[in-house]
Point group: D2
Chain length 353, copies 4
């Protein structure tokens, strides 16, 4: 496999299946002498955890992170930070019904085909539970970035056809279970999610992420353009189907004379269609991204599907799943942004002696 | 910098500035004993080169690839393939007007800020000329993939607001200068591009890419999901602002019951919203992607911009530029797809003994 | 730091300090469907653990490995194997005397200078305790290699000036506490180690390692020559000062006519000065290496040393240390050989389609 | 193959066969704004080139380096430096006699077995000619290191049984064709090499390398210890069979009380058995290494060897070869040291913010 690591200098490697003993990871390349607030890490994890509100999965997982190394007397030592989150809710019998069956639009079929042998319980390694490890690493990266003045904000900007407009208040993001920065739109989204769930169905959504006060100069052309690696980081999150930087797909129908971001005297730009990155290098403007999440594949409906011996069979949906993934995806998107930006911050230090 | 390589086992490293001595690259990890058709490589390069039609830049560059190593008696030896493309058209005086000025929405400002010293001529390293090296590596990857039965097709599906519908004929892609698989839509697109150029302006566009007959099992979860690396590869191309797999951003407004791809008995699926990848691993269905290209930043209009000493100055647009980048982007997209898929094909061979 | 990983496809990343909560690691890129004998892994760990005989350190560490992921129903899933070994013996007060002092020829000074903040207890991250994680990964690699017919044998061939001759019996390696394949020489070595310990001193030693039945063709020229990476793997073990392949330093005084390994008809060679590798690629003969270990730096004698504020101070040696490191180094050398060879075995599979 | 790159941030990738069109490479991650003295690069190449004295191969190769990118107006731009050296002396008929035959202790057999298809002329990719590209990259690294005060010196310290003693004058290294820092010993070595050549034979040798004024703190534990990567770099040079740091294999017979390097008040040490590195991190003392080179395998004698169809045949030695490789290996060793140390210098900058 060997695909379980991300980053060049600030590098996260994760392990763990949904219903194994534990999930966790190793963060290598953490700068030394950084004060780490362990509670703030747990707070980020709590934003991702199941059961936190009425519109997310009701699985019970305490998701308590345990640090095993790399932090001594409250500060990083520069040595790798090992951590784990035990899997308490290992009701693996819940998953006996999918042992021999490939759920539609899940990774059961592809994992089985690729590896021949898999831990089927709860999706095993393909479960989004793995992203809890990313949130831990992201929370540490965020704290280090904050000490450098760099801030990351992520929020839901669309659920189904309900879109956030320009009336945005970052302060209310965590005041509603959807994590939308507008309480009225959030209420509409929440109602839609509840309606969808009542139907035993699920719905897609999108998350916007902004990274503010990034210094000019991060990004390593030509292949490791800053947005290329941000894109990879986001596309590696379960259920993501699309990524946009700045103007995104809207740029397709625009003219250069409208799209060009004209400079101000201080090097900032009057517009930000570039999304804070030009030629793969940050230009000091906010980095703006949008990430599309598909509707969760697990639905509480009967579907025809394939079993391991190649027969089409009826499968009843059951289990505790999210009707819409974006409320819990918000901290994951923020985490991947933080991991990526810190890595490029460190890489940039080698540019000039 | 150290960002000039892509790939894990099949690895391309490129060098070269727009108006230096030459551009080129090294392809390492090429499987041995593969017959290489050098003319077919040159043909792919010719699809990318300037001056090939009335709707692209009229710069004169012969773009002749010279192979320096790794191919012996017509076959690969397993040793790295070094190659270069000399820069014949080095009219560097053409660029004196931008030596002290940062062009809006170009990488002049960010390169200058990051590196302090840059080859400004024609954008130097930030020029899309670098992508010619990608086309060379991609053409070699394509030939190897073809021997494995894997085919890649790329084409323009939107220019400005003109969208390709469902009436598609792959055979006509290279019969029109836009590289659109519908001659009627192509003609409309061509007319739009000419109109835009007449205005001294530019226009955005998008490219679709399909990879067919990919075996089940390519992709290395969790971070190196196949589409995550495809996304990175595409986002690393100059002017790209967005990437979609399968349903892409449309998934946001869909329900799970509509989005799920139900299986056929042979493991194929009735629909392909997944875009040929589930859980980061190819499922045997066509891999489908869409890539958004912004309108070229160079316009033949007067713009206010910033110079090196921090003054806002008027800049007249000049030079030979593309009014729309997508016709020439088609072979680049195909090349990046080929490079990525071959790399994952090789990586997958380590999964089972 | 970001130096905590080794391997390209079969990749080990480790974490943990000597007296933190736990040490452990993640093994990524493990081929799927491999039966793993957990007890055999523990057996290898027991060969490395403290307190196993009278001539090694008498610290009490149970060194029990716990697997957290990647093995399901006794077989690998292709997903990363996470594991940890808890640190039971955390008598950290034992180390208060070195908190403010840099022990001579230890890494206290360099870690303090590089990172500014360190876990001083028992050497922290610089402790050879980290190598227990390597033994775990190595034991898994060995089992997979064994299923491919590849065998690794390591043993002590010198302690102080006492050298093993040509009278060798692999069967007795674990019948003596030195791990020397000749019981008479082993007894001499044991006596020397005891004598040295009585003096409160330590002594150097060397380990030989042979890898048998390696298929022809492993190694990736030019930089990743098989012996270059074997050398790096060995030199990354604590206390190693030298590495030899085949004839090693003896080749310096040899003539080509004597050193050349002449072929037999089957492609094997009459001699093996090459040590099983030519041009960086295995040639099918046994791979033979020799690794030099310095005398342990901790001695039970009073030494003058430096403290954190730059004063020279007297330091009394204490603590439970090894008088000679090689008996416990044998499984570590074997582990690093296994990790490296398996990685190259997997890499080679990408050479030919 | 994918083994043609070395380095993490300062990264060299090479291409080229002995008798192909050209050899060369790409240096990625070069810090920006560094003044480069091109003539000094050529001077280093001239120290490696054939025909420079009576005791090296008399092949005629001009070895002229051409830079293709990355240097603009005399200074690095931070973009990759592409370069090539054309192969003028392509008398490939000289090698027809080895097309079907595997020379003893050469890489003919292993390359043929691994890749199935090879450029046999002059050893093709396995030829030491590839090291010319390393010398180019090393010369650039050396210039950058020199601006940081770091100096590298390499010289021959043994040929056959003739050893350099403690009477050393660095100023005379290039005053004799052996590159030994003692003119009397050099004369003896030269006489031995001539005698060996007269016999149609070859002889081994060793090179010492010192790196002075390295700041404290370079090296990335645990796997990327500074000496582990220096060892890999040296072992990747053709014909190398052994590597020692500091006391090297002598440490085996030493006691800790003799081997420990006691501190001076300024953090330097009274002795330097550690060879300038403790725990994988530089301690500010000179880094001292010794590298063993085997006698060249090509001898002007008749040897029995194997051909491609598995027959033992007589082969007459011919061609223009080096009777002893170390005089020309000196600049290669220095280059690999420079490449490695600069890479770790850049990596270390990410340790503390």
């Amino acid at each position: 496999m060997a695909g379980s690591s991300i980053g060049t200098l600030f590098k996260l490697t994760t392990f763990g299946e949904s219903h194994g003993v534990a999930i966790g990871g190793i963060i290598d390349g953490v700068p030394a002498n950084q004060v780490i607030d362990i509670e703030a890490v747990q707070d980020e994890l709590d934003r991702r955890k199941p059961g936190q509100s009425a519109i997310v999965t009701q699985r019970k997982e305490s998701d308590k992170v345990e640090f095993l190394s790399g932090i001594f007397e409250g500060k990083t030592t520069g040595s790798p930070i090992g951590f784990m989150i035990k899997n308490d809710d290992q009701k693996s019998n819940d998953y006996d019904h999918i042992k021999e069956v490939f759920r539609p639009s899940h990774a059961d079929f592809t994992y089985n085909s690729k590896y021949g042998h898999r831990d089927h319980r709860g999706g095993g390694r393909s479960s989004a539970r793995e992203t809890a490890s990313r949130v831990v690493a992201g929370a540490i990266a965020k704290q280090i970035l904050a000490s450098l003045g760099i801030e990351i904000v992520a929020y839901v900007d669309q659920v189904g056809s309900i879109k956030l407009g320009s009336d945005i208040d970052y302060n209310v993001i965590d005041d509603n279970p959807v994590r939308c920065p507008n309480m009225i739109v959030a209420a509409e989204m929440e109602a839609l999610i509840k309606e969808v769930r009542k139907d035993g169905d699920t719905i897609g959504g999108s998350v916007r992420c902004e990274i503010n006060h990034v210094p000019v100069g991060l990004g390593e052309p030509v292949f490791d353009k800053l947005h290329a690696d941000l894109g990879k980081a986001m596309l590696s999150i379960n259920a993501v189907k699309g990524f946009e930087l700045g103007s995104g797909f809207e740029c397709v129908s625009m003219r250069g004379s409208d799209h060009n971001d004209l400079f101000n005297e201080d090097g900032s730009t009057q517009t930000n269609h570039s999304g804070g990155i030009q030629g793969g290098i940050s230009n000091g403007m906010p980095i703006t991204m949008r990430i599309a999440f598909k509707p969760v594949a697990t639905i509480i409906q009967t579907q025809t599907t394939l079993n391991k011996v190649g027969e089409l069979v009826e499968m009843d949906g059951k289990g505790r799943h999210d009707p819409c993934v974006v409320p819990r995806a918000v901290p994951i998107v923020g985490a991947m942004a933080a991991i990526t930006v810190l890595d490029f911050y460190l890489r940039d230090r080698a540019t000039n002696l």
